[in-house]
């Protein structure tokens, strides 16, 4: 192997596991168009350690892990083992260097057995003359050593999700990995499976493996890790020993308190009630959360901020109001009229604008030009069509106006949406929704993935809409944003709206987001 550093090299020498090592990313930066995913990120991992990387979706956790695993190349910075720079240009390089990743979506062949999946593509077991029995015995011993319970002879397609994850971990070990990167490993597991995973990870760490866990779930980070790093807006906010920090301190770091409230909110007396939710419930669906007895009122000229750790029903709330989720009980009332479970088209036509959380997926059609994207929601209105025929001229004028007013950088109105940077795609969605002159604006994570300048711009637009008498439901995991913009703040947790004391502070909000008062470190 020459002078090339690999963790396997260390591992395979005789005192293998006794040897300490240190694997790190140093000042890694990576941007996609205008979106800065990683900004001078440094994280490190020692032999025998479990390091949790905590942050909301979009904080840049996945990007840094992809760089460590060679799926992405950094724009700046490097990856190193024991201070020797490591060249990782592809996952194959990473695997050769002893780094393995267990993805959120497993990369297994369902029709093959566990054993076949494990030896698939592995040179060590290659060739026609593979002695299956010997290989099976070797792998079974490895599995037993780390308490990985899995039947090697069963087809992967018949395994539960938790079992498939174990196969993935075993696959990494069979390939000689010393560093394991687990991307949201608990997202798909039952509580019992999470416990079993914890035991396995502990065994691995004791045997001098190093493990990165990427997660946005606080309790699991607290329970599983030795050290924890918090990422926010592409930066590492800090790294702590898990036993020396509390959950609530971590929440503060996750949602941040650094961004100064740059926008000023003029004094306004809220007008009449625009949106009212009366005991609204949404039943849980496969993989989706639920809402329980939501009561919420928003008046014209009022911004109601919904804070909360992601995945506590915020998106369901937005979708229930917009007619995209079935409301199983209770009422949604817009300006005095019940719109509960109306078709989405009618709710939109009644004056609801919706900036969806996942703009890429829901908000735009990437292969359409800007013109077709500009009329996505309003294509049925008389302004853009007469008797079912689209008025090209009106569409062009409208698109040009959006491009002009919102300074969307593009090569022209006929440019495909795909060719725009992430920030400019978002601008178009925002411009389109605001141009609809809504009575109610639902803004879900409106500044996620934007740079500071663009964030400021979006904040100003929201304040302007408020002054124009729009009722705004602002859903955000950024506490600064909520505090800076909102007239009223509510917190969502486990599908419920939690009450707040009269003058909420960042601490009381944080406590409400977590549930009860502060929890001792290490408690789940």
């Amino acid at each position: 192997m020459g002078s090339r550093p690999t963790l396997q090299g260390i591992a395979r020498s005789d005192q293998a596991s006794a040897q300490p090592w240190r694997f790190e990313a140093v000042n890694v930066s990576k941007s996609y168009g205008a979106v800065i995913a990683n900004d001078a990120v440094s994280v490190d991992l020692n032999a025998g350690e479990i390091h949790a990387l905590l942050g909301e979706n979009g904080a840049g956790k996945s990007t840094i892990m992809k760089i460590l695993y060679g799926m992405e190349l950094p724009d700046a910075g490097h990856v190193a083992i024991d201070d020797t720079v490591l060249k990782i240009g592809s996952p194959a390089d990473a695997i050769a260097a002893g780094i393995a990743m267990v993805h959120q979506h497993f990369m297994l062949v369902p029709s093959l057995t566990v054993l076949e999946n494990l030896i698939l593509g592995n040179r060590r077991f290659g060739g026609l003359m593979t002695d299956r029995r010997a290989v099976a015995a070797e792998i079974a011993a490895l599995a037993a050593q780390y308490r990985i319970e899995v039947d090697l002879q069963r087809p992967v397609g018949k395994l539960s999700v938790g079992e498939q994850q174990r196969v993935e971990i075993l696959k990494a070990l069979v390939r000689g990995a010393r560093v394991l990167i687990l991307d949201e490993p608990t997202a798909v597991l039952t509580p019992q499976e999470i416990k079993a995973l914890g035991l396995t990870l502990r065994e691995l760490a004791q045997d001098r493996h190093g493990i990165f866990i990427v997660t946005h779930k606080l309790p699991e980070a607290m329970e599983l890790s030795d050290r924890v790093s918090v990422m926010r807006r592409g930066r590492v906010v800090g790294t702590w020993r898990t036993d020396q920090i509390t959950s609530s301190e971590l929440v503060m770091h996750m949602v941040g308190r650094s961004l100064p409230a740059s926008v000023s909110r003029p004094q306004l007396t809220p007008g009449s009630t625009v949106l009212e939710l009366l005991n609204a419930c949404v039943a849980a669906q496969a993989g989706r959360g639920e809402l329980r007895d939501i009561n919420l009122k928003i008046a014209a000229g009022e911004i109601v901020g919904v804070a909360g750790v992601e995945g506590n029903g915020q998106q369901e709330l937005a979708e229930a109001i917009a007619g995209l989720r079935h409301v199983s009980a209770g009422d949604v009332i817009l300006c005095g009229d019940a719109i509960t479970n109306f078709p989405a088209a009618e709710i939109l036509a009644a004056g609801v604008a919706h900036i969806p959380q996942d703009r890429h997926r829901d908000g735009v059609v990437l292969d359409f030009p800007l013109t077709d994207n500009a009329i996505l929601v309003d294509h049925q209105t008389p302004a853009f069509q007469q008797r079912g025929i689209i008025d090209r001229h009106a569409v062009i004028q409208f698109t040009d106006r959006l491009i002009d007013v919102f300074q969307i950088r593009c090569s022209g109105r006929e440019a495909p949406m795909r060719s725009l940077s992430g920030g400019n795609q978002q601008k178009l969605v925002l411009a389109r929704e605001l141009a609809r002159r809504p009575r109610l604006l639902i803004a879900v994570q409106p500044t996620r993935g934007l740079d500071v300048g663009a964030i400021d711009y979006v904040h100003r637009q929201l304040i302007e809409q408020r002054s124009a008498g729009v009722a705004i439901l602002l859903i955000s995991t950024e506490l600064d944003e909520i505090i800076a913009l909102s007239d009223r703040i509510v917190v969502m947790r486990e599908g419920r709206v939690t009450a707040l004391p009269d003058k909420p502070t960042i601490e009381t909000i944080g406590a409400a987001m977590l549930g009860s008062a502060d929890r001792p470190a290490g408690a789940a």
């Binding site: 829901d362 077709d372 294509h379």
Partner: protein, 343 residues
């Protein structure tokens, strides 16, 4: 700005350039098959050209053959633009043909000016109804329309075979009894088989092109095909539009069956379609799902088929050469698309 226009023009002509290139490449590859069996491929291709364009009759035959292919390719296109695979144009074509023949016997004594339009509408409706089955199974129960449409092709052919041999048998030829002459489509060029359904196909292509580009329905259909989540977010009636588009797909294929019966055979023969539905898929993909380009590509493939008949007569080379040519072409198209996706 001028750069922008230029690139738009290049983009517009791209399917043509690419299609031509792929046809030439597959001719070259097929030529390699011919050489070892002692046939000069250039001679063979020259005979194909002569057979396809050498006379008025050859030219009109090209158009006759292109007509059903245009319609089946439009059928594939309208479904595909909405994100659905219609591999059932062949079956839908048969249903259109069956409806045409059934009414063409004119047992209800319809007046001549009424008969033809009624036959056409019925053919469209029959094809649409045949397509509605896989559409419902897909939209309601999530059954793959790919599989259901293919299976229903066999069913449609079997029904046609039954009618030909059974209730509607003529007793002489492997075909049904003829329809009444009032149900014959007008011939456009006297002495040839070129009939009015060619104009129907051209009009359908123009109409579909307009609908897709300029109407609210077409806009919604395209949005659903490109990003169904965005369509739902924008409040579009996703399932309704998918159903309508898939039914229209069946209807267009049904019109192809109408033309074959009312314009060419004046009865329903056994083996009416030599795979028009499948050729339609190739045409749709080659034309990049553009209805107007589909007309041109369909004409090119039709000319190839017609020309191969001339080649067989002149040089004794079996027509199946063209099947090889087409198969090579399909593989090249798929390979090209794959490479483009990678790029």
């Amino acid at each position: 700005m001028s750069v922008h226009v230029d690139s738009a023009v290049t983009e517009r002509w791209r399917p043509f350039a690419q299609g031509t290139g792929l046809v030439l490449a597959s001719m070259a590859l097929t030529g390699l098959v011919l050489l070892p069996i002692g046939i000069n491929p250039i001679g063979a291709y020259a005979q194909i050209l002569k057979g396809a364009f050498g006379s008025v009759n050859a030219l009109t035959e090209d158009l006759v053959y292109a007509t059903p292919i245009i319609l089946t390719s439009l059928s594939v296109i309208i479904a595909f633009r909405c994100g659905l695979w219609n591999l059932g144009s062949d079956g839908q074509l048969y249903l259109g043909a069956i409806a045409t023949v059934g009414l063409g016997f004119n047992r209800f004594g319809m007046l001549p000016p009424v008969l033809l339009p009624v036959m056409a509408v019925a053919a469209f409706a029959a094809g649409a109804a045949w397509a509605a089955v896989p559409a419902v199974l897909r939209l309601r129960f999530g059954a793959s329309e790919v599989i259901v449409t293919i299976m229903m092709n066999f069913l449609a052919v079997t029904i046609a075979t039954y009618l030909v041999g059974g209730p509607w048998a003529s007793g002489i030829t492997p075909a049904t009894a003829p329809i009444v002459s009032a149900g014959f489509l007008p011939i456009l060029v006297p002495g040839t088989r070129l009939n009015a359904n060619f104009l129907v196909a051209i009009a359908a292509a123009a109409l579909l092109s307009f609908v897709l580009r300029r109407t609210v329905f077409g806009y919604q259909l395209r949005t659903i095909g490109q990003n169904i989540d965005a369509a739902r977010y924008a409040g579009m009636p996703v399932n309704k539009i998918r159903f309508v588009s898939f039914s229209c797909a069946g209807g267009l294929a049904g019109l192809a069956g109408f033309g074959e019966v009312a314009g060419i055979y004046h009865n329903l023969p056994n083996g009416l379609s030599p795979g028009f539905g499948y050729t339609g898929i190739v045409v749709a993909l080659l034309a990049r799902l553009n209805p107007l380009w589909a007309v041109i590509v369909a004409f090119a493939l039709a000319a190839l088929s017609v020309g191969s008949g001339g080649m067989q007569r002149a040089m004794g080379i079996p027509v199946s050469l063209v099947s090889i040519l087409e198969a090579v072409l399909i593989l090249l198209v798929l390979a090209t698309r794959l490479l483009e996706r990678r790029a």
